[in-house]
């Protein structure tokens, strides 16, 4: 408590790093654009090369903002789930959100051929996938919530979420087994995740849900702190367990659900960022943890995206793989170095 000034400094530092990484992210890519021209596009829009203007305004900037929203949103929902379940292994997808989304997308991409149905071209469009993924997430989430209404124990929700995840992945495997190579490939590409395909409109929809989720998280800060003592103490401190649980689930669904719908399943960020932050600043108070996790998530995904697009080359690596490739060694290193798991 006496070090709250240190925490403020750290938060401003994280903010600075976020801005720096954001600029790094938009100035690097397969097309080499000098940094001063990037700034020119941003602040004056008089650039000699029109293509550069287009690349930055219509591709790189939406992509950078998507990374910020997706990284921070997933990280926050991971933090919410870890605190709610009092379990360090919980992440944004424990409620079956990504498995539901995969099922929805798999049904659209591969189910059409398997069941011999006629799928309109709309189904294969971007919005078709977004809707399929959202519906899938929503269905699995509702199933998990219905099952959890009967349960008093929060830990059981975790198990039920896992069970639904393995059920849906089994259905996806069966679909994959019977579907032609082209559709299978399309599904696999979706499952790699991507932050680069969003238009400004889609970004607007994503930000709307992100904002709702973050606001709910903000108003849950006090209850999250009570939950550090365990559910029974939290109740004795005046917290309404059922209402709080519902709010946290809604917040996670808004955040992780909308991100998965637009950017595909992005692993690792949600699970790891809260741990990374706790290792860097040993803090429990969610008043500091929440903003730190938002910034940490944004930084991690911006960095991963910068690496994924392999500056200077034409290739783009799957973001879903890069998050783990970059992130996992960092978490391992921090844990080994500190020798103490702080949770």
């Amino acid at each position: 408590m006496q070090t709250s000034r240190t925490y403020t400094t750290v938060l401003f530092l994280l903010l600075g790093v976020t801005v720096a990484v954001w600029f790094l992210n938009i100035s690097l890519g397969s097309v080499n654009i000098p940094f001063k021209d990037v700034l020119a596009v941003l602040f004056s829009s008089e650039v000699e090369n029109d293509n550069w203007h287009y690349i930055i305004m219509e591709y790189r900037i939406p992509k950078a903002f998507t990374s910020v929203l997706a990284g921070s949103g997933l990280a926050v929902s991971g933090m919410l789930m870890q605190t709610m379940f009092r379990n360090p292994l919980a992440g944004p997808y424990v409620l079956g959100l990504s498995s539901g989304a995969s099922l929805g997308v798999a049904l659209v991409l591969m189910g059409a051929t398997v069941f011999g149905g006629v799928a309109g071209s709309f189904l294969f469009s971007k919005w078709g996938l977004v809707i399929a993924s959202s519906l899938g997430s929503l269905l699995v989430l509702l199933a998990v919530m219905l099952a959890s209404v009967r349960l008093k124990d929060t830990m059981a929700i975790l198990i039920i979420g896992l069970m639904f995840a393995s059920l849906t992945s089994a259905v996806v495997s069966v679909l994959a087994y019977f579907s032609p190579a082209a559709q299978l490939q399309q599904y696999v590409f979706w499952s790699y995740g991507s932050v680069g395909d969003l238009s400004w409109n889609e970004l607007g929809v994503l930000s709307f849900f992100w904002f709702l989720g973050i606001v709910i998280a903000l108003f849950s800060i006090k209850n999250l702190n009570s939950l550090l003592l365990g559910e029974q103490y939290a109740r004795s401190l005046g917290m309404n367990i059922g209402r709080n649980r519902a709010l946290l689930i809604i917040s996670t669904s808004f955040l992780a659900g909308s991100i998965t719908a637009f950017a595909g399943p992005i692993a690792f960020v949600g699970l790891a960022v809260p741990h990374l932050i706790r290792q860097v600043i040993p803090v429990n108070d969610h008043r500091i943890l929440l903003p730190a996790v938002i910034l940490g998530g944004a930084i991690l995904l911006l960095l991963c995206d910068t690496v994924a697009q392999m500056p200077g080359s034409e290739y783009t690596l799957p973001i879903n793989a890069i998050t783990s490739l970059v992130g996992a060694p960092v978490v391992i290193w921090l844990l080994v170095r500190k020798r103490k798991f702080l949770f």
């Binding site: 408590m1 009092r86 108003f219 800060i221 006090k222 702190n225 009570s226 550090l228 003592l229 365990g230 029974q232 103490y233 109740r235 004795s236 401190l237 005046g238 917290m239 309404n240 706790r278 040993p282 429990n284 108070d285 008043r287 702080l342 949770f343």
Partner: protein
């Protein structure tokens, strides 16, 4: 006030029910004439504070931080501590005499120290009634006595009602004003002296191993 009885007789259930953690199996609970069900969780939190066993609480919490969480029922929407809150936290730390460990983290504490921290947290909650479920389990004999003595002093100094479940009947007899004795078929509540005189302790356990010795007012192993 101690709640004693054999394992499985319902001590914890009784305490959890009167503290509103679980709904009543049957009957009604009234606090100052008001039905427990009609009291909102927020208001109940200003009437009853709890000390529970084996909670999955974050061991990464600092001592002062954990005690500060006792002020949650009084703080604003984001949990900002006022000067009043800080004063209550300081008082709670002083009453339990743990000021010197307040900068430590919970994982650095011994079981006895942690128990005191949890009691300080309940004190900071500033309620007329404090309920503790087996506050002395896991502690050695010295710390058992220390915690129960602490509870006695606290109830005298702060005029709070302190109810706790315990298996330390010998200690409870020496320290409590009243004892609630739970047996499978009846529940009696009286001062320790009255309970001893009426012979209530002779019948709690099967007589083959331990017997109650009225001369020393304690249980002895049968020889």
């Amino acid at each position: 006030m101690a709640v004693v009885g054999v394992n499985g007789v319902g001590k914890s259930t009784f305490l959890r029910t009167i503290s509103g953690v679980q709904p009543a199996l049957s009957g009604k609970i009234k606090i100052k004439g008001e039905n427990l069900e009609n009291i909102s969780p927020e208001r109940l939190a200003t009437m009853i504070s709890l000390v529970l066993t084996e909670q999955p609480l974050s061991k990464n919490l600092g001592v002062a931080e954990l005690v500060a969480l006792g002020r949650q029922p009084y703080t604003n929407w984001i949990g900002t501590l006022t000067i009043e809150d800080r004063k209550k936290i300081k008082e709670a730390l002083a009453l339990v005499k743990i000021e010197e460990i307040q900068a430590k983290k919970c994982y650095e504490l011994s079981d006895g120290q942690l128990q005191k921290v949890l009691i300080a947290r309940a004190l900071a909650q500033d309620t007329p009634l404090m309920i503790l479920d087996e506050p002395t389990s896991h502690l050695d004999m010295y710390h058992k006595a220390q915690v129960l003595k602490l509870l006695r002093d606290l109830s005298l100094r702060t005029q709070k009602v302190v109810i706790f479940a315990t298996h330390e009947i010998n200690l409870a007899l020496q320290l409590c004003d009243k004892i609630i004795l739970m047996k499978p078929n009846e529940v009696v509540q009286d001062s320790p002296q009255q309970l001893i005189q009426k012979g209530h302790f002779e019948s709690i356990f099967p007589a083959d191993l331990i017997v109650f010795d009225r001369a020393t007012e304690s249980f002895r192993i049968k020889t």
